[in-house]
């Protein structure tokens, strides 16, 4: 892990000093011991700020999109002949590269606008699971050593097995190594357990209608519509999201539970064939809504109906932007 971090800093410094990238997005040490934060650097000397460890959580593809689009916005006031492109470097694990592939497929930016430093990933620590494992005691210092997380709390040191606190998305991750990259640091990580990918969906599908609806409403009643899930999601990049549109007003503003349910159904459905299961939305949700159970269903359907996995390669376009005469239509009603 230290080795990868060292190589990562070297590569990042090299890219910046050779002016191959204008800006580099990576993870830096956060103010909380169990959380690395997205860090944006522009000078080779700042490469020392970068870290790579299992506390690097959120999907950085979101920031790539943001940086490129803010730059484009700033270029609007510049004479057309003087406009510049901004080349963005990004530290990317498997899910981040999948999100970048989705951006590229959806023509958000060009491949030459992004330089990908691929890093192998063996999963990240879910902060909710860590807090649960510590039974509510605040972690003051955290360090990962092999398979354990050494945590210092006010009451002394404790060790938690890494596998007990990894995010749910990571256990069944199919693509934990970068799919596309310009520079790769470290050796590819060993595979996780993708065979169990849809277990969570299969278990839920076997419940009766009313129990599923009861679970859905229970989960969604926790939602306070802070839109953190949308803000962190790399696939949610619309300039004006449907929740903020007022004509037509898609999502109501009352305290009626149905408004929250409609918001969640539509945000989740917009991820059809586009969710890479990076787990960022689950990780940032302050209320602990079980979003993954529902997002994973779309992933499963996308694969079963159209043989497509989001962002698995640049050549397989998102299923809902494709069409075929031979699609299954057993759901069509014939009187």
């Amino acid at each position: 892990m230290e080795n990868i971090e060292k190589q990562l800093r070297e590569e990042a410094g090299k890219l910046l000093s050779e002016k191959k990238v204008d800006v580099l997005i990576g993870y830096g040490k956060g103010t909380l011991p169990y959380q690395a934060v997205p860090t944006i650097i522009t000078e080779p000397g700042e490469a020392e700020q970068l870290v790579w460890n299992p506390f690097c959580t959120v999907n950085l593809a979101k920031y790539v999109h943001d940086v490129i689009f803010q730059h484009r916005e700033s270029q609007k006031r510049v004479k057309p002949e003087d406009r510049t492109k901004k080349i963005v470097g990004v530290v990317a694990r498997g899910c981040t590269t999948r999100s970048i592939i989705i951006h590229l497929q959806e023509r958000q930016y060009e491949r030459d606008e992004v330089v990908i430093i691929g890093v192998p990933c063996s999963g990240y620590v879910s902060k909710k699971k860590l807090w649960d494992a510590l039974e509510g005691r605040e972690p003051l210092e955290c360090a990962v050593e092999g398979d354990t997380v050494k945590v210092k709390t006010q009451e002394g040191s404790r060790s938690v097995a890494l596998k007990d606190v990894l995010s749910d998305s990571c256990f069944t991750c199919r693509y934990n190594n970068p799919i596309i990259f310009d520079v790769m640091v470290g050796d590819p990580a060993p595979p996780m357990n993708p065979e169990a990918e849809y277990e969570i969906v299969d278990a839920f599908e076997s419940l009766p209608d009313d129990e599923r609806w009861a679970y859905f409403t229970k989960e969604m009643s926790k939602c306070i519509r802070c839109y953190a899930c949308r803000n962190t999601c790399p696939s949610c990049y619309c300039k004006i999201c449907f929740v903020e549109q007022s004509g037509p007003k898609w999502v109501g503003v009352t305290i009626d539970e149905s408004d929250t349910q409609v918001f969640q159904i539509m945000r989740i459905f917009h991820q059809a064939g586009r969710c890479v299961d990076c787990g960022s939305c689950v990780e940032v949700c302050p209320m602990g809504v079980d979003l993954r159970r529902f997002l994973k269903k779309l992933d499963k359907d996308g694969y079963n109906l159209f043989g497509h996995r989001a962002g698995e390669s640049l050549d397989s376009p998102p299923p809902l932007s494709e069409r075929s005469m031979n699609d299954k239509e057993d759901f069509i009603f014939e009187p």
Binding site: I255, F306, I332, F333, P335
Partner: protein, 151 residues
Amino acid sequence: MTEQNTNEGWEPKIVAFVCNWCTYAGADLAGISRIQYPPTVRIIRLPCSGRVNPFYIVKALQEGADGVLVSGCHPGECHYITGNLSARRKFAMLKSFLSYIGFEADRTIFTWVSASEGEKFANVIKGVTEKVRALGPAEKMVKTIGEPAQA
């Protein structure tokens, strides 16, 4: 439950999103051929079944529709060549997803009716009405609190 009382004399409200070129013409044919079908359906005409945003369906359910029907041209007969094929993919995923979260599958129904199938259109409406009637009035996700007046 007061459901038994309120269900008396209850007729399902079905919102139908139909395409301009096939199903709407089919409905027209049903009309001019004087074929009887239940007056439970509210038809909304759209250029193409591909124009149906999944949001329309979710929104209709929120606003109290007991059932939502989407109908377009048969695959391969779309006025816009592939609109209904794109639509079919969207609907396959939406229907599956709504069932997954616990909606009754029969509340959202998709079908194809061509311009010459007046008889079929009437049968579709009859069929959908029966299915929705069997489910009873919609209760899931129906909005009960009104939106504040716009300033």
